[in-house]
């Protein structure tokens, strides 16, 4: 009966324009629509599949501003049991190390965790580092970029898929896993699920509730700092021609002119 924590993150919708705030170069979260990260939906789905087969409880965890409640509700309406939302103005501008530390402390609030499931990479930052960092902090084995997960008692096996190919992994629980795009098809929340989600407990915590001093997190004490941010001038359109039976030859001539062939 594995106790599972699923990490979910609200990200700006990539269909809307993303900006950096002028004042401190952090993500201007108000300027973009926000959605539950697509890969995170698969992380929730995987947790639910494990629970359906083996029992246990699924806790959703998100560290992020108030708006992250939308992502949490979506996960609860898919079928997760309860949620922890760490929301604190002190977290504004937190770096990867601080976010990891807060996630680890929040996971510590959940009783006897067997498995932590994350997405392999969020679509906003293209980090793909948090799950491994979390494994390091928690001292758990990491089984990341999973396209298949099998749990058998205290043992877990994963098929890892990356650029490099497939790797078969094996470790003992408790463990941190991250799931890739191909692991499953996330379910749509049912009407019943959406109604039920409204009554599920969401524990909203500040960093102080986690025993972390506000001065240890956020922009001022972050381990990296943005010095300057410049919007790139948008790429200008170059030449465009209609194909009149010689389009291929014209490209070839252009490439020769540019010394590309």
């Amino acid at each position: 009966m594995p106790n599972i924590v699923v990490l979910v993150k609200q990200v700006p919708d990539t269909y809307s324009e993303r900006k950096l705030s002028d004042s401190d170069h952090t993500l201007d979260r108000e300027s973009a629509d926000a959605v539950l990260d697509e890969i995170n939906e698969r992380a929730v789905e995987e947790a639910l599949l494990i629970k359906e087969a083996q029992g246990g409880e699924v806790t959703v965890l998100s560290v992020g501003p108030d708006r992250a409640t939308e992502a949490i509700r979506k996960a609860l309406s898919m079928g997760a049991d309860k949620a922890i939302h760490v929301s604190d103005p002190a977290l504004h501008g937190a770096c990867l190390l601080q976010t990891t530390k807060v996630l680890a402390a929040a996971i510590g609030k959940v009783d006897s965790v067997d498995l932590v499931i994350a997405g392999n990479e969020a679509t906003d930052g293209r980090g793909g580092t948090i799950p491994a960092m979390l494994a390091e902090v928690l001292g758990y084995p990491q089984l990341t970029h999973a396209r298949k997960v099998t749990i058998d008692g205290g043992a877990i096996t994963v098929e890892r898929e990356t650029d490099a190919g497939l790797t078969h992994l094996q470790a003992n629980l408790p463990a941190v896993i991250s799931v890739g795009e191909k692991i499953n098809e996330p379910r749509y929340p049912s009407f019943k699920g959406i109604m039920a989600a409204k009554k599920k407990p969401v524990d909203t915590l500040t960093v102080a509730d986690l025993g972390i001093d506000a001065s240890e997190v956020g922009l001022a004490s972050a381990s990296s700092a943005v010095l300057e941010a410049t919007p790139k001038p948008p790429r200008a359109a170059g030449q465009r021609v209609e194909d009149a039976g010689d389009g291929g030859s014209k490209i070839a001539a252009y490439l020769v002119g540019e010394k590309l062939i």
Binding site: Q142, L143, A164, L169, S224, L227, E228
Partner: protein, 322 residues
């Protein structure tokens, strides 16, 4: 000059191009020291090529454990070198594994991490990383304020330039794995690359989109790629429609490429596709829709049928090669 550690990315004794890019970047901020964490016998095979890109030192950490455990042996070795050598920075390729190694190393050493840099510079004695974010829409310069700067560098972000290095070897121990916390590797099926260059390493990429129409017709894309000595890429719509395997997807949820030349065939140019290719030096697009957004960023665009234009281009390229 202080040392800059560069984690060597290799397969079976063959060094990946990104390692040469990292060694080139390292020379901007200090003296490159290549770190080989691999199976016994690897350093002998890779030493010469590391020397030819300016590695002053080669740390040799060889053990059978490296292939037996995921990620942590590399973290263990780098952490011991960070403690022993106080390097100016640690550079790691921003591959799936590289990002994980870098992230864990940052935790282990209490250091800040800069991700997906496309270059590093030294400003007033500080290491500054240059990053393109939101698919290249912003250029950001950042620095690390704690510990040793750990920087992951995007493949193709830096142009590799040769330089002679002494490649003086020094043996480093691979600490024994803590079996309880480590993840065992029980099997590996590396992607067999075929004859084409790897997508993120290629200097030319030819990609096909939904406009290609079917898996069979992707041959048109492949033929042009082969004539140009290019890698083949695909849009997500082409991948989702089953025309081409997912590992070749370019874009926000696929690979980021930054080649000298990117050719887009039958791709509309959605923002998520552009996020993975708009930092290419030159972009050529063929699309039958004159309104397709790909033309907004193309240096040279042809409004026309890709099945007429691409084969003609393939033939022209073939003729020139004679």
């Amino acid at each position: 000059m202080s040392e800059v550690l560069v984690l060597v990315d290799e397969i079976g004794g063959e060094v990946k191009k990104v390692t040469f890019e990292l060694l080139t970047a390292a020379r901007e901020i200090g003296e490159p020291a290549a770190v080989v964490v691999a199976a016994p016998g690897t350093a002998a095979k890779v030493k010469e090529s590391l020397a030819s890109y300016g590695a002053a030192k080669v740390y040799v950490a060889e053990s059978d454990d490296v292939a037996a455990y995921l990620v942590t042996p590399k973290v263990d070795v780098l952490a011991s070198l960070v403690a022993a050598k106080s390097p100016a920075a640690v550079l790691v390729a921003a591959t799936a594994e590289g990002k994980e190694v870098a992230g864990r190393l940052a935790v282990r050493t209490g250091s800040g991490i800069l991700i997906e840099a496309v270059g590093v510079e030294s400003t007033g004695g500080e290491v500054v990383g240059v990053q393109g974010i939101f698919g290249g829409a912003f250029t950001v310069k950042s620095k690390v304020t704690k510990g040793t700067p750990i920087v992951t560098i995007r493949p193709g972000g830096v142009d590799a330039v040769e330089a002679q290095g002494a490649a003086a070897e020094e043996i480093v121990e691979v600490p024994a794995a803590d079996a309880a916390k480590a993840t065992k590797i029980t099997g590996q099926e590396p992607i067999v690359g075929g004859d084409r260059p790897e997508l993120t390493e290629a200097s030319i990429v030819v990609s096909g989109g939904r406009g290609v129409g079917s898996a069979e017709k992707f041959e048109v894309v492949e033929k042009l790629a082969d004539a140009l000595g290019a890698a083949v890429g695909a849009s997500r719509a082409a991948v989702d429609s089953g025309y081409y395997p997912a590992q070749f997807q370019v874009g926000q949820t696929g690979k980021t490429v930054s080649p000298q030349l990117y050719v887009a065939l039958g791709i509309s140019g959605a923002i998520q596709h552009r996020a993975g290719m708009q930092t290419s030096k030159t972009i050529v697009a063929v699309n039958k829709d004159p309104e397709a957004p790909i033309f907004e960023i193309a240096d040279f665009g042809v409004v026309g049928d890709l099945f007429a234009v691409a084969p003609q281009l393939t033939e022209e390229v073939g003729k020139r090669k004679g």
